[in-house]
């Protein structure tokens, strides 16, 4: 009866898991990220995969793949390069978990076939089971320690379902050890075993065995006469050698469960009464099945996606040229795969060169892991649909676009990614998507109107009166007369400005010079500068600021004006801040 229940539950979980995997893997051919992915059909993407795989298998690239298989997938070389502690933790978890899975969970399929006479109660399996469980535990503990140490004030990308899955994993381990501990201490289990293997309820035989198992093997009898007669134990030892020892090692070799059993001892009567062995088994088994069924929908899908990603990217020998090298169909699939392969480890966030800006703008969406999540949301259409409750504006999308365009493409995230994602390609595709959705980079949309037209729109727009308070914090220099009142209009800034110099030879010259921007500020006409080409084409080389004989922070003011323009002109343009 119970076996049938467990078997059915296992079958259902397996079916759910397979269906989930199919759904998730199919996303690699469905999800579209980047303007170049829009016109690629499903069949083209499948064909690209087959073609790519065929080309790899038929060429010397196969050695690259094998190399990647060994170094990247098995040894996690990329993780080792950046995070030694996490690499160790991950390795411990993987090793412990895989060995437990093979030896213990799949005993009937694997261990019994490989090792004659396998019994879960025999040495060395009892010891090994504890060892593997302990290895996973140590790994998880190291992971948590590392996570504590890395804690920052910036929000990290974590989903509740992923935390739940980790808790589930812990639950499986804990129930496993408890189940084993319960069996060690339980007199009920003792009697069941003796009935089965000694085949006698004769007190002559049972008493010495009880004496031995109680004094040396941790079974807890509440009706045993104390102190135990040593001769009785010796008799029990002989009986044990014949009846038990052939298929039962000493329980103490379960070096985790045995101490736990000692702790359970006082409660063993109650536990036996309540059939703890049965419900612990159910809890343990059902937790495993639940994990199996939900695996495709949690972070742990990465056990499938990450190796594939590593193999795909590891087989592309020249990362820099990979974007050009692959067809649009292959690029589309690789981006979709990236969404699934990201393990939310946050190493990219820790190395991100615009992380300081994330803090400055209060927009954690600048960080790579967040951007990757936003890419997924955007591809799923959720980002553009999400509207702010208060004014129905596309706040989330605006923030995500801001984050996308503040990225400097320094490439650090790609270089540290432990699963080898080509993140720069993903960011570039994302920017294309934002631009296509009417959210181009500020430097692009600011050119929709001339500086004067922007200033007139600002004047006509009622929003601007609301902006004044935020302006002072966003643009403290240009809001304070003292920062430019020293300007004597000597033109030094203009004379040393390479952007103005270049516009001498260009049809798309700047509309103002730095010195004129300063003069507009002096005249209280800051709005006129916000959409100006000079402000937006400034190369921030700081020549002006270095040379200014009056110490005016010209370049700093230019940067500020841009930040202010994003907010003020962005408001006029219709994508408003919700704050």
């Amino acid at each position: 009866m119970s076996t049938m229940l467990l078997q059915t539950a296992l079958d259902v979980s397996l079916v759910l898991c397979v269906l989930g995997l199919v759904w998730r893997v199919s996303a690699w051919f469905r999800v579209r990220i980047g303007p170049d992915a829009r016109d690629v059909t499903l069949s083209q993407r499948v064909a690209a995969l087959l073609h790519g795989a065929g080309a790899v298998l038929a060429s010397r690239r196969i050695f690259d793949v094998l190399r990647a298989c060994f170094l990247d997938v098995l040894l996690l070389r990329r993780l080792f390069a950046n995070e030694k502690l996490r690499w160790l933790a991950h390795l411990l978890i993987v090793v412990g978990f895989v060995l437990l899975l093979l030896m213990h969970a799949l005993a009937a399929v694997v261990t019994e076939k490989l090792f004659q006479g396998y019994q879960p109660t025999l040495a060395p399996y009892v010891f090994l089971r504890n060892l593997f469980g302990a290895i996973v535990f140590i790994g998880v503990a190291l992971l948590l320690v590392g996570r504590r140490r890395r804690r920052t004030d910036l929000a990290q990308v974590r989903r509740p379902i992923d935390a739940a899955f980790v808790a589930l994993l812990g639950f499986v381990l804990v129930t496993g050890f408890l189940l084993e501990a319960d069996k060690i201490a339980s007199p009920r289990a003792f009697y069941r075993m003796t009935e089965q293997f000694v085949g006698s309820t004769d007190p002559e035989k049972l008493e010495p065995l009880r004496a031995l198992w109680a004094s040396e093997f941790g079974v807890v009898f509440d009706d045993l006469k104390q102190p135990i007669d040593p001769r009785l134990i010796e008799t029990g030892r002989e009986l044990h050698r014949d009846a038990c020892a052939p298929c039962h090692t000493q329980p103490a070799s379960a070096f985790v469960s045995y101490p736990v059993a000692r702790m359970l001892a006082p409660a063993i009567g109650v536990l036996d009464q309540g059939r703890a062995d049965v419900w612990l088994l159910y809890l343990h088994a059902f937790a495993c099945f639940l994990g199996l069924a939900s695996l495709p929908f949690t972070l742990f899908f990465h056990v499938v996606s990450a190796p594939i990603s590593l193999l795909v990217n590891g087989a592309a020998p020249n990362r820099a040229s990979s974007a050009q090298e692959h067809s649009a169909a292959a690029r589309a699939s690789r981006r979709a795969l990236a969404l699934a392969a990201c393990v939310r480890c946050g190493i990219c966030d820790a190395h991100c060169s615009v992380a300081p800006l994330a803090r400055y703008f209060g927009n954690p969406g600048l960080l790579p892991a967040h951007k990757l999540v936003a890419s997924g949301e955007f591809a799923g259409g959720r980002l553009l649909r999400s509207r702010n409750e208060q004014d129905g504006l596309r706040y989330e999308a605006l923030r995500a676009a801001e984050a996308a365009f503040l990225c400097t493409d320094c490439g650090r995230c790609t270089s540290v990614c432990p699963v080898g994602l080509d993140l720069e390609d993903l960011w570039q595709a994302g920017r294309g998507d934002f631009a296509a959705a009417g959210l181009p980079a500020p430097a692009q949309w600011v050119r929709e109107r001339a500086a004067l037209a922007w200033a007139e729109s600002l004047e006509a727009d009622l929003v601007q009166s609301r902006a004044s308070e935020a302006d002072a914090t966003l643009a403290p220099l240009s809001a304070d007369r003292r920062s430019f009142s020293r300007c004597v209009q000597c033109q030094t800034c203009t004379n040393v400005c390479p952007v103005v110099a270049h516009s001498m030879h260009s049809d798309h010259g700047v509309d103002l010079t730095p010195q004129k921007v300063m003069n507009l500020l002096r005249l209280g006409l800051r709005d006129l500068t916000l959409g100006s080409r000079m402000v937006w084409d400034c190369a921030t080389c700081y020549q002006c600021q270095e040379h200014c004989p009056e110490g005016v922070r010209v370049a700093d003011i230019m940067c500020e004006l841009r930040a202010l323009a994003v907010r003020r002109l962005g408001a006029v343009r219709g994508v408003r801040e919700a704050a």
Binding site: C490, Q491, T492, T494, N495, V496, V500, A501, S503, M504, H505, S506, D507, G509, T513, H547, C548, P549, E550, G551
Partner: protein, 435 residues
């Protein structure tokens, strides 16, 4: 000679204008370790011309052909004038050292003589000066021609609003019949409504632009025996550009300084920065002095504008912070104050005395002679009338009893007093080293 302490120097020069640069240069030349604090941006207002002494007395606007004769007259009439307190051999040595250092840094000057020279200005007037950059000297030679001034072509560029050859020719035409002017389009500037001198200067450092410009001027030469341009002939490689123009046009070529801030100012700043830096002077050009304190043998300077702040120790301090534009002196409603230490400032007793009723009065205003009084060794006096600290010195325009703008003696004042004060610094430091 640097002490064992970190960030410890023989001399700290506060200020990086002409006087601060000269003081740092001379300190380095004397083998003293030196740190210079402050922005050199003020030098951008300079024209590259090095005045020594052109006018004395200012009330009579009397121009002098010989600066040394003028200095002798000044010493007679105004013994308190800082330049009157430096002897002629020292001034000759100071100028020679200064100009040699500039030459080595890529800014060549015509050999210094005993006479002042006249040079053309951007508005067609002439200006009396002493040290003339190599690139401008051909113009001075024309003005000083013993007989009639030879035919000459002035060229300007469409869009360069700060310089008009036509205006210069109109102003000088009566006394210089052979002076012609032409406006040309700067090669490759077709689209630009307005041009800026420094951009032209950089553009002319590429051989192609240079050749195109020369080709445009060549057919306009006519009988001209020299060609004048606005001062845009190169920036970092000005010598090369000027030589190329002379070779290409086959006649002497000279620059006329444009309105400040100008390319010659940029060249001077670059050359001075290079001169002091290559001599090992440490520069804190974005720093300002937050606090300056002295104990018996050591000055401690706290700096602002350096990330995390910085503390500097020096055995001697030279104040070269300038007057009002350099912000060495600040004027409020009641009085003029010295900005860093609050040293007593020689000034009219009340604000009414700052200016004359006639703003353009040739004798100038009392406020233009305000500044620090020093003892014989260039040490500014404290409230008690004694030196404020035993090794605090003041040089340049912050000194009282001079009106350098009207006297045409700005560079001379900076260079000569820096030289004289540094002699005192070296002597004082030698004294302590021996003792």
């Amino acid at each position: 000679m640097t002490g064992a302490r970190r960030n410890s120097f023989d001399v700290a020069v506060i200020g990086a204008g002409m006087a601060g640069m000269a003081a740092s240069l001379f300190a380095a030349e004397r083998g003293l370790s030196c740190i210079q604090i402050g922005s050199g941006g003020g030098i951008l207002f300079a024209s590259g011309l090095l005045d020594l002494l052109g006018v004395h007395p200012v009330a009579e606007r009397c121009l002098w052909r010989s600066p040394y004769a003028a200095l002798a007259a000044l010493a007679r009439d105004e013994p308190l004038h800082p330049l009157a307190r430096v002897d002629a051999p020292s001034i000759r040595a100071a100028f020679a050292t200064f100009v040699t250092a500039l030459g080595a840094a890529g800014l060549a000057y015509a050999p210094l003589g005993e006479q002042n020279r006249n040079v053309l200005t951007a508005i067609g007037t002439t200006k009396t000066t002493f040290g003339v950059p190599r690139a401008m000297v051909a113009g001075a030679d024309l003005l000083d021609a013993p007989d009639a001034r030879p035919p000459c072509l002035l060229v300007d560029f469409r869009g360069l609003r700060e310089f008009s050859a036509r205006q210069i020719a109109a102003t000088l035409g009566r006394s210089w019949p052979g002076l012609r002017h032409q406006r040309i389009e700067f090669p490759g500037s077709g689209a630009a409504p307005e041009l800026y001198a420094a951009h032209l200067a950089r553009a002319l450092e590429t051989a192609e632009t240079r050749a195109n410009t020369i080709a445009l001027v060549q057919p306009l030469l006519g009988d001209a025996r020299a060609v004048g341009f606005p001062a845009v002939l190169g920036l970092a490689r000005a010598g090369e550009v000027h030589a190329a123009f002379e070779a290409g046009l086959g006649v002497p070529v000279f620059e006329i300084p444009t309105m400040p801030t100008s390319v010659p100012g940029l060249r001077l700043l670059r050359a001075l920065e290079a001169a002091v830096s290559t001599r090992g002077v440490r520069r804190r050009h974005q720093a300002s002095v937050r606090a300056l304190a002295f104990d018996a043998d050591d000055a401690t300077i706290e700096l602002d504008g350096v990330p995390g702040g910085e503390r500097v120790h020096a055995r001697a301090v030279v104040l070269a912070t300038g007057r009002f534009t350099g912000r060495g002196l600040t004027a409020d409603r009641d009085a003029v104050r010295e900005s860093i230490l609050g040293l007593p400032v020689e000034q009219p007793s009340a604000r009414e005395g700052w200016h004359q009723r006639d703003f353009l009065a040739p004798s100038g205003h009392a406020i233009n002679r305000a500044g620090l009084r020093t003892d014989e060794a260039w040490r500014p006096l404290g409230a008690s009338g004694k030196p404020a600290w035993l090794r605090l010195y003041a040089v340049g325009s912050i000194l009282a009893h001079q009106d350098w703008m009207r006297s045409k003696c700005g560079s001379g004042l900076a260079i000569a007093t820096a030289w004289a004060a540094m002699e005192q610094v070296a002597r004082a430091l030698r004294g302590t080293a021996a003792g």
